[in-house]
């Protein structure tokens, strides 16, 4: 085992953590925004999956990586829009609608994939990377962290932007109030439904980009059900992060490292059955929940529909 921690192994582990972790982070960040505003967004898995599909399709037909990501974000918004309509405007159960949207997106993308790509299984070319001068020359973490597609840097930047919005803008205050005490926000003259709708659409956009990241950067191909629970891990991340965007990033990288351990351990030539290794991320989720789950704090109004004047 002494040869395990070679440079190749470490590089592939860090790289894998980032590649697998960024979609989780985007999902977690999106979910955090929804939850802050009081919407339990279970449809996020569907938003990611539809983002993965639409991102792939747009990138495949236009050949543009950037348009692909935009398409992915749009795909997420397309799934988020009915969520906003049914749950926020009409007050239907967030859990039921969330599950329905996830199942619907799974079925729809699988069907579309079956007719479009099931014969050919086309692949996208590798996404070009942007090496940051100087930093990318550092051994191990240099190539893994600072020679990545530009979208990766933007995703990390989104963490800082989200933190800024939460802390220092009116919109951030409104989000917090919508989840903590929507009646107070309403009394302050802000439309609760509008704040929550915005939050859910932003969630859809971020989750969709996360999905597109999986299909365009991670796999280079769209496969049905490829998000494989990433959205649900995002929900766990958001709950554990207790409103702090930076915690989402840290948690996502941790889960990403677990997810990528499969490949990394194979690179290192360790012969553990892959089935065992593939359990790692889910074991990690369980561990985190057991260790910290009790301290997870959720906004009081989470999952409830706001009706003015109702008591």
């Amino acid at each position: 085992m002494s040869g395990l921690f070679t440079e190749a192994f470490l590089t592939s582990l860090v790289l894998g953590a980032l590649t697998a972790g960024l979609p989780l982070m985007l999902a977690g960040l999106g979910e955090q925004i929804s939850e802050k505003a009081g919407v339990l967004n279970i449809g996020i898995e569907g938003m990611m999956l539809f983002g993965a599909y639409l991102g792939f399709v747009v990138a495949y037909y236009t050949g543009s990586v950037w348009l692909g990501f935009l398409g992915g974000g749009l795909g997420g918004v397309l799934v988020a829009a009915p969520m906003a309509l049914f749950c926020i405007r009409m007050g239907l159960s967030q859990i039921v609608i969330g599950i329905a949207l996830t199942l619907g997106a799974e079925g729809l993308t699988a069907l579309l994939h079956h007719f479009q790509f099931a014969q050919s299984y086309p692949r996208l070319p590798a996404v070009p990377t942007l090496a940051i001068p100087g930093l990318s020359a550092i051994p191990v973490i240099g190539p893994a962290l600072f020679d990545r597609p530009p979208i990766a840097y933007l995703a990390v930047l989104a963490v800082a932007v989200t933190a800024y919005v939460f802390r220092s803008t009116q919109f951030g205050l409104s989000l917090q109030a919508a989840g903590d005490k929507p009646a107070a926000l309403d009394a302050a003259g802000v439309d609760v439904a509008r704040v929550r709708t915005c939050a859910v659409l932003i969630t859809g956009f971020l989750a969709g980009i996360g999905g597109a990241f999986m299909s365009q950067v991670g796999a280079g191909i769209f496969v049905p059900f490829m998000t494989n629970g990433a959205g649900f891990i995002g929900i766990v991340l958001a709950m554990q992060a207790r409103g702090r965007p930076l915690w989402v990033l840290c948690g996502a990288l941790l889960f990403g490292a677990c997810l990528s351990a499969t490949t990394a351990l194979q690179v290192a030539g360790v012969s553990i059955p892959t089935d065992v290794i593939q359990m790692l991320p889910f074991a990690a989720v369980l561990m985190v929940l057991v260790l910290f789950g009790r301290r997870a704090s959720l906004p009081p109004a989470l999952g409830t529909h706001y009706v003015r004047g109702a008591r």
């Binding site: 005490k181 107070a184 004047g309």
Partner: protein, 522 residues
Amino acid sequence: MTQTLSPSEPLADARPVVSLDHVTKRFPGVVANDRVSFDLWPGEVHVLLGENGAGKSTLVGMLSGLQLPDEGGVLVEGREVRIASPARALELGIGTVFQHSMLVPSLSVVDNMALGGSWWSRPDRDGVARKMAAVCADIGVTIDPHAKVGSLSLGEQQQVEIVRALMRGSRVLILDEATAMLTPKGADDLGALMGRLVKLGIAVVFITHKLNEALAFGHRITVLRLGRKVGEIAPERLAALGPAAATAEIVRLMFGTGATATEAVATTVRTRPNGAPVLEIEGLAVDDPSVPVAGIDLSVAPGEIVGLAGIDGNGQKQFAEALAGQRRLAAGRIRLGGETIERLDVGGRRQRGLRYVTDDRLGEGTVGSFPISLNLLLKQVGEAPFWRRGIEQPEAIADHARRLVSEFDVRTPGIETAIGKLSGGNIQKALLARELSGPTRAVIFAKPTYGLDVQNIRATRQRIREAADRGLAVILISTDLEEVLELSDRVAVMSRGHIVGVVDNDAGARNRVGELMSGVTA
């Protein structure tokens, strides 16, 4: 100070700032407000008095933009307006402090005040804090602008809401049941604050169901009953009447002519019980992170009412729950009729005749969506004759329910009605029916009249007396000293988890209990 409080405006304006003109509001099955008219004058505390369900909250809702009247109009400065949203009410200068705080607990005071600005702007925290300091100075309160709201006391949160309303230029301030959650001291402070507010020319609406507060703080009093305005006492008349005559007048208005003698319930001379104690508690202790309870010794004779006085949160609840079996004892013993019961669970203690009437009526006392009939048997589920071999016996359950409903005068459409739909007073009656029926030896009442209106308070106190007259040992936990002194044979005072003294309820009891409560003789 805010622009709207311009000193040029004469205080005795000839015209009311806000008027409700014969407003009617209907909800499914009830007329919450029936052609109510109501004028607000600047520089006046206008008290809106009425029992639970009299329609006060609905009236406030229409002023603050939560509800629109079905008929009738709202006039601001003589112009007819439609207050369709809270934001519109604020625009019109009507600020409301609701009974339940309308602040976001997880945000700081300034952030709460900054809430509602344009979306992408930065909240102007320094500016808000400066403006706030100015208003605070004007009305004589001190608030830390950067404290998290959740860490403030309820009284302070109310001050924050009042300051916020003034910062937004409110000329009318509605305080909805503002004293319901406050300590007596907090209520007095609020009364003084209202006095300072009206001196600035603001019109204050103060909603309450407490008569003494209405008289102490109000200039003009309007009384609502069953959705109708039954009377208004103008300032001149209120001053002329004097407290005693005003009280009589208001009582007559609130309860109709039949119930004039409210508080003057003849305190029947009770024979002092002196049998062997039926309930004995020795060295009881409970571990609790907030208020650890220790060294409680108390014994209660059959037919005796022992009042447990004390400021709320001094371990009364922990003690009561430990006694009832809902909490683990850290130490001590409990004997009921000579039998040791501290190792028994809730059901075991109940079977031996120990009953607990909780103050958390909706939380642990009842299941709101269950019918009354089942709620009356909540602690006997599975027992014969109501269940046989696990099968429900609808006839037996219904008979039992009908008997108790009529015996305890629970006003309900039927025994199958979900208990959560009843008023607080009727839920309490059902709870009393459950706990006081069947073979009983000792009863613990936890704040039995908390949140009830005057008539139900009277009915409940009568039940407590009857329970003692039947020979039960009664422990009465109450934060209302009047209640304890009215009912008890002896009064134990609880402070910081200990019983700091037990006094006989005689002429000097009030002073000694007061001293014990405030810690003078501790």
